[in-house]
Symmetry: C2
Amino acid sequence: MSEKTIPYKIYLEESEMPKQWYNVRADMKNKPAPLLNPATLQPMTYEELRPVFCDELIKQELDDTTPYIDIPQEIRDFYKMYRPSPLVRAYCLEKKLDTPAKIYYKFEGNNTSGSHKLNSAIAQAYYAKKQGLKGVTTETGAGQWGTALSMACAYLELDCKVYMVKVSYEQKPFRREVMRTYGASVTPSPSETTAVGRKILAAHPGTTGSLGCAISEAVEAATSQEGYRYVLGSVLNQVLLHQTVIGLETKAALDKYDITPDIIIGCAGGGSNLGGLISPFMGEVLRGEKNYRFIAVEPASCPSFTRGKFAYDFCDTGMVCPLAKMYTLGSGFIPSANHAGGLRYHGMSSILSQLYHDGLMEAVAVEQTSVFQAAEQFARVEGILPAPESSHAIKVAIDEALKCKETGEEKTIVFGLTGTGYFDMTAYQKFNDGEMRDSIPTDEDLQAGFDGIPRFQGNEF
Amino acid sequence: MSEKTIPYKIYLEESEMPKQWYNVRADMKNKPAPLLNPATLQPMTYEELRPVFCDELIKQELDDTTPYIDIPQEIRDFYKMYRPSPLVRAYCLEKKLDTPAKIYYKFEGNNTSGSHKLNSAIAQAYYAKKQGLKGVTTETGAGQWGTALSMACAYLELDCKVYMVKVSYEQKPFRREVMRTYGASVTPSPSETTAVGRKILAAHPGTTGSLGCAISEAVEAATSQEGYRYVLGSVLNQVLLHQTVIGLETKAALDKYDITPDIIIGCAGGGSNLGGLISPFMGEVLRGEKNYRFIAVEPASCPSFTRGKFAYDFCDTGMVCPLAKMYTLGSGFIPSANHAGGLRYHGMSSILSQLYHDGLMEAVAVEQTSVFQAAEQFARVEGILPAPESSHAIKVAIDEALKCKETGEEKTIVFGLTGTGYFDMTAYQKFNDGEMRDSIPTDEDLQAGFDGIPRFQGNEF
């Protein structure tokens, strides 16, 4: 161990910031399975994906051999506005827990989108701009991704059309207004602006929408207009790739002080933040250089890893998107209304799914009341009010630190603190008022998520 | 000029962070006038202030000779959790404006209170704890100060009672919930918990409260309970003293790169953030070492400097607090409902008032629609969604940069970006919808602010 004093916050110099993303697929012996065309059940090709996605992003999506991919200078300049993010030594939390463990967190919340989402939003917007497109479309639920994309598009003067799940549009007006301030058009979904939206509205006049429906509208809006493409904030390989800037910065900061983590923890919804955090460390494991424990934390109400099946499934509930092989609860699964909106997804990144399947990563599911207890404890000693999603990682980091207290082990724990909870105060209010409840799906609930999905070889649920 | 490349964000090392606050009064030839006891019209003494304020804070309040005051180690440790704050080079804004000016901003928003308020909250809570008190009371309007104090008290395990103006309590539930998450009790004011509250409720059953009323309740709550004191988030000398950590860090960061500012700009409500930012630079001017332009920016709807009178007046609308000599619109002045809640104060720091009176500082009043235009422009290129208060400084920084564009001068402009606007989206929505209006008081409106205030030598309005 080094004798250097570890500051509360380790910041890299600009010159130390990553110049390339790291593509962990290049070091995986068992590659993640390819996306399949649902019509042919054959791997999706570059040409098939072009009407929907930007050319350069498709290349990144399909590339499982190139280990390092240059970050264009324009994206690196944008990163400098809000990065490097600090790697924080949680001295106050350690003291409060009275643990011999050393706890660090990589804090991605110090930007107006409030989360790590901006890391991929600027990359996707940049490639769209470079391709000469007029704009991009996307969907958003809770609104972090939509906010991040709006910010990136405002910076690049690119048009941004966001389809926001109607219930969120109405219940989260502040997120909506942040997006509008950044010049995005925000449409409550389902809407009259698309054929699929009109069809859904005709069939279900009073519907408040769903993420699956918003995806369908955003894809239609992209493919039916000249000069537009669709972009997505998680799950895809390209998004995980962009998010490796988190892990690369974390590793550089740790290396600077000769710190080797024992355990690396992150919350997992679509998997991009966790994948981004662990990728450079996982690369060392895959190359046989090092060994770490990786823990994915998911909500007990939406337990893709711990109770899902490893199979091909649709990425969207509307079953219009390609099929991905992943841990899934079934694309028909409807998670209960827990407050970590960003973790309410039936599936999981194909990359992480393969790594988990191969025994390279652990997963644990936690209940939301215990998550908010951890969030409150963390806020009071570390000063940061965390997002409900991020608080899943806090919960397990605290649990691991308390285990060290019992055993006396001085383990080094690193976790990803993906964002702030400023737009989640309705959830905190429920917790403060003692009205928060846990909701764990039954086995029957879980099986119902697979109802109606066409069966074929590779998805025997 | 140095040949060093200026990074996007200049961070000090922890070892470079200030170890002392700077008390600008020590270098002022014309000292700010003392607080007066409204009953005797004599300067308030240490003993007279003890029932209300913490002992050590009274000493700081009254000390106009000691230039540097040590920051206790415990406060410096807390500062390390969210400080140093970055001094940001606004490269993207400069490019957008196509100006030869070099623009820097000191960004105080990267903490959960969302503003600079935490700098004084932790100091005041610390001295209360050190004195062996059980807790502190305060009032809050928009909620930034209450949030900051709640965070500081949670960290020190000190009880925190916040009286929140009832209309804000109801209309800003998110701020309220942040305070509750930090363990503060938040009471809508006026309330049944104090004699003054009951009296006001009896007289005005449907009232939604006012800051003046909340102050009265918080003071009563502090003085009527064993082990409690009252704390305040602005206006007072002690608060400005604590906020000099902003200016000291700014100066250290500029010195590190051999940068000398020409113009230093900040928004001014009670004056503590602006005073804190400019103090170390003003000290150089007062000692005859350097020369800078200082610009205070205030809302045209509440123009204390530009249209107020330099006279003794009450600090509160209820006329129970001591008298302070300051630029004032009259403690009976009711500003129109502009959206920069933190700047809606009739008076101004006595220190800044004296400096302005002595011609050492300029002031300018700006209208809120132009402020939000500047805020939007800034957000889109610099990525940060600013608080309405902070955006007053942005507006004038942009104006000065555009003047440089006309004249070709390469001036260096530094401004204080005090906080983020995440809890101000209702105001942004008004702006986005084109429904924001300006409201400038008439001379008659202004004169009415002085109605009913007792006249004596020193306050001939």
